[in-house]
Symmetry: C2
Subunit: 105 residues, 2 copies
């Protein structure tokens, strides 16, 4: 196993929804989003409110994976694929993905 | 104290340096950046490598504050102000700030 395989990954997505803030549609979206937490390999799952005025995003979701393999398996998991196709693509207005690994010098 | 004053904040900045990757200048920048961890109110300070190919940023720095007041005091702390003026503005090519609060429904 290479060093890259071993590196822990924090996967973060900031996003803006098409739904009005505080709407039932918005709540239903988060209910579906939170179900991703139960996909094997997903750790430290968090949904957050984005509060900086220096970007356009309103929410964030963050999760950690033990390594790249766990992240890859999450990406291809049927529940994740279905969520992206049935909910994310239809209900998200704009988003940005950011993935972190520990920094080593 | 209002609910907003009480809310814990995770302050994240993703960025791209002007320095070549792996250079001595880059290492020196991170040495200076890491000193921000000792400013009062800064918790869970982390420097990270940004690995998603879906954005242009190369690194990230993340820290938490107990509330907005602690965050405001960090922003105006002389060590933070000096770092921004003497290092960040000169050595950072591009960046994006993202601030998270816990999401409550």
């Amino acid at each position: 196993m290479t060093q890259t395989d071993n590196a822990r990954i924090r996967h973060t997505v900031v996003f803006k929804l098409k739904h009005p803030k505080g709407s039932a549609e918005e709540q239903d979206f988060f209910k579906a989003l939170m179900k991703l937490a139960s996909i094997p390999g997903v750790e430290k799952f968090e949904c957050m409110k984005q509060i900086s005025k220096k970007n356009k995003f309103e929410y964030g979701v963050s999760m950690e994976f033990a390594n790249q393999l766990a992240y890859d398996q999450y990406n291809i998991h049927p529940d994740h694929v279905a969520f992206v196709q049935n909910r994310w693509i239809k209900e998200v207005d704009d988003f940005l993905e950011i993935d972190f690994e520990p920094l080593k010098f």
